[in-house]
Symmetry: D2
Subunit: 257 residues, 4 copies
């Protein structure tokens, strides 16, 4: 644990270029804001990547050297190639952590890892959100109080179309009358996947310390611990005596299971 | 519950045509054996479909009228089109049950629903398998004793690369020294997914009453209860007064979340 | 499933005797109101029992003939004897369903089954509650819309000190700013435990059809399926050949594990 | 995390005094063997306590200064007082970790935390056990290979009467034909509970490095992170405007929920 956690922050990086409001809040892009913001809460070695770079900035080598990939996307999910989506999925299954932020619920890698559509209700009405902390003892909740308030937020409401989370750490209350499972975790292969709802391009939520701390804690917690590829089935010799271990495949020697 | 459960049994249906051993065990195909076999344990309205039919025999209309889809595939998973894979996934998310049998762990619809590779260890050595019943009170275990033995089985061993199951109903012991989570369930959208390990093309396992009963019970339990499409995000009006409900989208009216 | 589900409704039955407001709402007691109310939503064979009857009205024979025990208590949890608490726990572990309503979160049988204190935040302020339906496909949500509103409710807020639920079916939103996991299920032994938050002695919540239907659905779903006592360890003979099966206990033949 | 983890190892400490075979294997008691054994795998500050000390060696102050309590008992579970059982439970709910070893499945604190009987099958036949690692990425599996073998073990078999574990990290295979969920975790209040099957008084299993490492890893992972008492309900003032916040309790001001 004395090694810094190698984090790659991926950002779509379109709103910041096209929209004055967003640029004012995140002048160097959401990715650089997050990089600055989480640095206070852990020992990280941070790189960034964006959509319009070649291969979206995400090669196999970079991901092998990434302990946690943080993902922010909103307006251009479909521009992410199937190839990159599959690559990210495989790296997670091998052991890389994956932190999906806010509108990344609809990102292709998150949908692929979940196996569901990840749809939800939404509304932009400058309303208040209050996130309740359900597991104060969880490392991702380290330093997080009983609840966190966001003064102006986009609403996300249930039913959030996700598989049963392994852990639900925070549930949001919205002024307009909805609730949402806002911080959830899942195991996928040897990797950890975390969804963190707060964040938006036109609200300065990634300037709010509690939110940055949750993202930092999640990155520490989900860091890669192993690198194990599990794509293929393994023909395994018995560890105990069995009657016909010498028996050959009956059908097709090319079968893999 | 007085209505019969509408089951569609999908079979790759290649081994039975190409291999004498298999044909002897399943002369009319695994799909017809399963259709006969489960009929004793529930009120089912059964159809079948196979790989080499047009669109693999699986159109949108048929799936809308299907409460549970049972899937058997082994040698030709890659022949299943991406289009059919996506269609099956969406129908599950809408509420259709999905029962993946044995080597269907590597089928494209199961992998897509899991979000993982679903890899495992395997061995064909005519060895004994004993499945232990962990939840005798579960409807899928109705009528199933404390354990079920299969005299000659293919081994599947851990680590099985699946997401944390919502429920683990049976764990297998193998003569050669391995264990396996053999009957597992997951929620995906509004549908239930069940994996049932026992079965093989060259062992007459789908003639064994306990195994047929587990498959029948799973089909009863996973039957469709709703039909709700959840592909898109829903822009939802507030149920309580909020300050800026009239506020319009700031960025792009085409955004959907 | 053609047999009626045998439900025993247990009520503390004190508020209805001592308090005019409560008596006006539940003139024959909450237990009789519930008995009437759930009858519309399933085929039940209902008995009732109350705190001040001998042995709290709950003998071993009655519980053996009970498929689901519904529990309402509030002001006198400590009057329930340890003996009855242990008896109820054992009957649940054998296969009886247990539905804990509202303030029964602090009942001794529920605490015993959970292993936690089941504490929470609360407030009586005549405020609005809205319960969001997270699993429209679940049998307990049969006939329940996307959300249910209760115009005047007591608030219960997180952190609710319960073990991780096996299933979270509804989450409540409260006008005052809190959220709560309001309909949850757990397996305990061979029995199902369900907690259902709505209800109160001075609000007429058990006259509200959706709430009665949730309680009825829960009772159908949690009905006893087996009766298996699992108190003692079982000295089990090997099913496969092992080297020293004849070996005797080394220490004390009275040992049970 | 630079602080040592304060571990208290509790041992019944009877077999070692009464039985020559056991004394030979654990001359200073199982508690001291464990203390030595885990020290190689983490920075621990270790104390011990035993059954026949006053108050079983476990006062409230000691437990407040304990991050993780490891529990070994076998022949005298019933000698542990109800008072100590309740105290240990409360300290776990406040945030102390609890590691139950082998025959501690029947210890009063473990049963109380689980809410079930924790019964199982067992056999002493000098047989082989093989524990399969299901989550190589989990901190408790740090340094643990794909499987661990124990040459001579007591068998524990399913159905193990425990609540659905939050995590199942290892499943055992036994030579005689059984399986067992051998390393499991649960949240209880703010504490983590871990059950670790391997170990026995007459087999030298606590001299086996992999087993010691699992216990050490579990102790690191389950260490106290918070100290929050959650016994009572909290009357909570609203965070948002509600119509009748000034409303008083209607029934009895002594009510606590």
């Amino acid at each position: 644990m004395s090694q810094p956690v190698r984090v790659t922050i991926w950002n779509e990086f379109l709103h910041e270029l096209n929209n004055d409001t967003v640029r004012k809040i995140y002048p160097h892009g959401i990715h650089h804001r997050l990089a600055e913001g989480i640095a206070d809460y852990g020992d990280f070695d941070i790189r960034t990547a964006t959509l319009r770079e070649p291969a979206h900035g995400l090669g196999s080598e970079l991901l092998d050297e990434t302990d946690v990939l943080i993902w922010w996307g909103h307006a251009a999910h479909q521009e992410v190639s199937d190839e990159t989506t599959a690559l990210v999925q495989q790296k997670v299954l091998e052991g890389m952590g994956f932190v999906a932020l806010h509108s990344a619920h609809f990102s292709k890698p998150f949908q692929r890892l979940m196996g569901t559509n990840c749809s939800l209700k939404w509304r932009e009405a400058d309303e208040k959100e209050r996130l309740w902390n359900l597991q104060p003892n969880h490392p991702i909740m380290d330093g997080i109080p009983e609840y966190v308030e966001i003064e102006r937020a986009e609403m996300y409401g249930e039913r959030f179309d996700i598989p049963t989370p392994d852990e639900i750490l925070m549930i949001s209350w919205f002024q307009g009358g909805e609730v949402f499972r806002s911080v959830c975790t899942w195991d996928r292969g040897n990797g950890k996947v975390i969804y963190i709802r707060p964040g938006h391009e036109v609200y300065p939520i990634y300037h709010q310390p509690e939110i940055l701390r949750i993202i930092a804690n999640a990155s520490l917690w989900a860091r890669r611990r192993v690198s194990i590829s599990m794509v293929d089935a393994i023909n395994f010799q018995p560890l105990e005596s069995v009657p016909n271990v010498e028996k050959r495949h009956i059908l097709d020697p090319a079968d893999t299971d």
